[in-house]
């Protein structure tokens, strides 16, 4: 039945309903009329449901002949007219609490650390766009906003815009997707902390086909305005390179290696450059039959920093972290992290630390986490802290992190 046919029947039913009391006056069998009205109401409900289903593109197809099922327009994917071209939109919040004393790194006891607005959609047949706006205590900023050209030949992928650089594993990861409340000491000391190496520029990557490994090479060029690099001139840019190799060991385990380099100008002084070199390795285990109940991940990341200083001197600094996380029930994860890092401008100061963390995962859209963190700062100060995190999201279903 066509849409106009359904509307006609619905109007006819409504007319019958409206006129029903008149007939009731003429009939002695009021109960029979009531029953008829109830039936008509049901008919209208059914028609309205069918109309709504048709408008929403419902896909209950008619029973087909076994030999050659008929193609039904009703099977088309439902598309709400109001959101046809709207991007996938989600809002993610990261609420953090801290207890205990830390004289080096003060942060409020309770803080809505970040609200992230994400908008993602295809731009056209050749590209997609991703925007992540971050609102925090310091205001609203563009955390990332870039176009990705997905249809380039020869397995190239090009991004343009503002983005987190592909340096190691922690730097490209948004805070709410970290396995811990905080970032490792080496990130704070050498790779720019929470915001890290995030800048406007280009990123070009390529899959290098070979029968043994997944190999991806990435080259990036940024303007030199991030927490790590600082440029005074247009000609002074910041460059990042990464080579990643991945291989499945079994169907449920795999190993992931990466090396990263970054270099560019800094605010230490004119022509004072900084070079970063990183190595990371990740082992994952997730038995497929029990994938929603068990998972283990071990990761380490090592970073070397070489900072030019005045009077033709240099400061070399090194830092690392090692992290293990185990999912022991459908909604529970437990893990630990070891931290050690020298300071970028004074490698004689070395901070060390360790954390234990427990995560409860009510659903894919929320998580609660507690973390005990001990930090021994190079100045001789120690901090014991308890951190709490509630992160939650509304809106479109985001892809799972890997």
């Amino acid at each position: 039945m066509g849409l106009s046919g359904i509307r006609t029947v619905a109007i006819a039913c409504a007319v019958v309903l409206v006129s029903a009391p008149l007939f009731a006056q003429q009939s002695s069998d009021v109960e029979a009329l009531r029953a008829e009205v109830a039936q008509l109401r049901q008919a209208i409900d059914a028609l309205e449901a069918k109309l709504a289903a048709l408008q929403g593109g419902a896909a209950v197809a008619p029973a087909p002949a076994p030999s050659e099922p008929a193609v039904s327009a009703q099977s088309a994917a439902p598309v709400g007219a109001s959101k046809v071209f709207n991007p996938d939109t989600s809002v993610l919040a990261n609420f953090v609490g801290v207890a205990g004393k830390n004289h080096v790194s003060e942060r409020p006891s309770l803080q809505l650390d970040e609200v992230e607005l994400a908008f993602q959609a295809d731009v056209d047949p050749y590209a997609r766009a991703d925007f992540f706006l971050s609102a925090g205590p310091e205001g609203l900023e563009i955390e990332e906003g870039y176009i990705t050209f997905t249809a380039l030949p020869q397995h190239f992928l090009l991004k343009a815009g503002k983005m987190r650089a592909q340096f190691g594993k922690v730097n490209p990861t948004h805070t709410h997707l970290m396995p811990t409340v905080d970032r490792p000491l080496v990130t704070d000391n050498l790779v720019g902390g929470d915001e890290g190496l995030s800048d406007s520029g280009f990123s070009l990557s390529k899959l290098i086909a070979n029968p043994i490994l997944y190999v991806e090479a990435t080259g990036e060029m940024f303007s030199g305005h991030s927490n790590v690099f600082h440029s005074d001139r247009r000609s002074q840019l910041n460059y990042v390179g990464r080579l990643r190799a991945y291989r499945d060991i079994t169907e449920g385990s795999n190993i992931d290696f990466g090396t990263s380099v970054a270099f560019g100008p800094t605010e230490v002084g004119p022509d004072m450059k900084k070079r970063l070199f990183g190595v990371d390795a990740t082992f994952r285990y997730r038995p497929l039959r029990r994938a929603i109940y068990r998972r283990f991940q071990a990761r380490t990341e090592l970073v070397w920093s070489r900072q030019d200083l005045p009077a033709a001197t240099r400061q070399n600094a090194f830092g690392l972290y090692g992290l293990g996380e185990y999912q022991f029930a459908r909604r529970w994860y437990f893990g630990g992290r070891y931290d050690r890092s020298e300071r970028a401008l004074d490698a004689a100061i070395r901070d060390t630390g360790g954390s234990l963390f427990l995560t409860f995962w009510p659903s894919e859209f929320s998580q609660l986490r507690g973390q005990y963190r001990r930090t021994n700062y190079g100045e001789g100060l120690a901090a014991n802290e308890l951190l709490f995190q509630a992160s939650f999201a509304i809106g479109a279903h985001a892809a799972h992190a890997f």
Binding site: A49, A52, A53, G56, A58, A59, V60, A61, A63, P64, P66, S67, E68, P69, V71, S72, S75, A76, A77, P78, D122, P125, Y126, R128, T148, T150, A151, L152, Q154, H155, F156, L157, K206, L207, A209, Y214, R244, Y246, D248, E251, N254, R284, R286, L288, R289, R290, A291, I292, Y293, R330, R331, S363, E364, F365, I394, H397, A398, A399, H400, F402
Partner: protein, 309 residues
């Protein structure tokens, strides 16, 4: 210098040309093993099929591994279940694949849900409070033979579009598959006929098409809401409902923990039955028709025990 550049360009072209496989088989990647089996049925030796998710893993929770990116990057055709089943893992594989052919809307992208019977399309306001609902309907639609037929038809048409020279070959293979499926359906219908309207419980909402096709009455779910683990309150309510309606059978997918289901079955004097929701979900369910052979035979045998029919 110019000759050097020419030499370099020619060398690069040679490398690029040499890296392409000589075989003309259509490279097909499917998100699930069911789609893989149907693609193999229709494509025969003119296709090379790679299925990403295994039949014994939860298709909602698949890791978007780089090895999958490699597979998708080489695909001429990507066939997906759609209806947001793969929303947690497929988008990054597609966008990282650097393969223009298989981008949504591309010639090499086939959403298998476009010509099938979809059940449980939510109406009215949908919120996450309802659990992991799929706004465009239940995506486990492949568990109905006629939907398998429709998917096979769509694959036949798409392969014919990609490889027109093999159109007759694909049509013949579809015809052969369709004939075998129709014969098998008679078998399955007869096996399940005695148990029409039998009341059962399933763990997740994976089986609406299957149960409707064979006339079984699903009276509840071990999950209180889609994707939400069992809670004590819901479990007690479910036990009471099963006792009230005389339901004795709980169907569970191979990737869920059996503890809660077994505990409920013990309370109602019933049984837990692990069925294969996908090709490869059990060793015997090695292709699409064998999947139904396995499930129907096992279900009929178990229903015979619990109903005494």
């Amino acid at each position: 210098m110019r000759s050097m550049i020419r030499l370099l360009a020619v060398s690069m072209l040679a490398i690029v040309a040499g890296s392409r496989p000589a075989a003309a088989a259509v490279q097909v990647v499917t998100t699930t093993a069911d789609l893989g089996s149907l693609a193999q049925e229709i494509g025969g030796d003119r296709v090379s099929v790679t299925a990403l998710a295994k039949g014994y893993q939860d298709p909602h929770f698949v890791d978007p591994k780089p090895s999958f990116i490699l597979a998708v990057s080489r695909a001429d055709l990507l066939i997906v279940i759609g209806r947001e089943l793969e929303i947690g893992w497929l988008p990054p594989l597609i966008s990282s694949s650097r393969n223009a052919k298989i981008q949504p809307g591309g010639k090499g992208y086939l959403d298998a849900s476009m010509n099938v019977k979809i059940l449980e399309i939510p109406t009215g306001q949908i919120t996450r409070a309802m659990g992991d609902v799929h706004p465009s309907g239940n995506p486990h639609y492949w568990l109905e033979p006629d939907n398998g037929r429709r998917i096979a038809q769509a694959i036949r048409d798409k392969l014919s579009e990609l490889s027109p020279a093999d159109r007759a070959y694909f049509a013949q293979r579809y015809s052969d598959f369709n004939g075998r499926l129709a014969e098998a359906e008679k078998r399955w219908t007869a096996a399940m006929a005695p148990y029409k309207d039998a009341k059962i419980v399933t763990y997740h909402r994976s089986w609406p098409n299957f149960m409707e096709r064979f006339g079984l009455d699903v009276i509840g779910y071990v999950e209180p809401k889609p994707g939400v683990p069992p809670s004590p309150t819901h479990t007690l309510e479910l036990i009471a409902e099963m006792k009230r309606q005389g339901a004795k059978l709980i169907v569970v997918e191979p990737y869920f923990d059996l503890k809660t289901a077994q505990s409920i079955a013990n309370q109602v004097g019933g049984q837990v039955l692990v069925l294969a929701p996908s090709v490869g979900g059990a060793k015997e369910a090695s292709d699409y028709i064998k999947l139904f052979d396995y499930d129907v035979n096992l279900l009929a045998a178990t229903l015979k025990q619990v109903t005494g029919k």
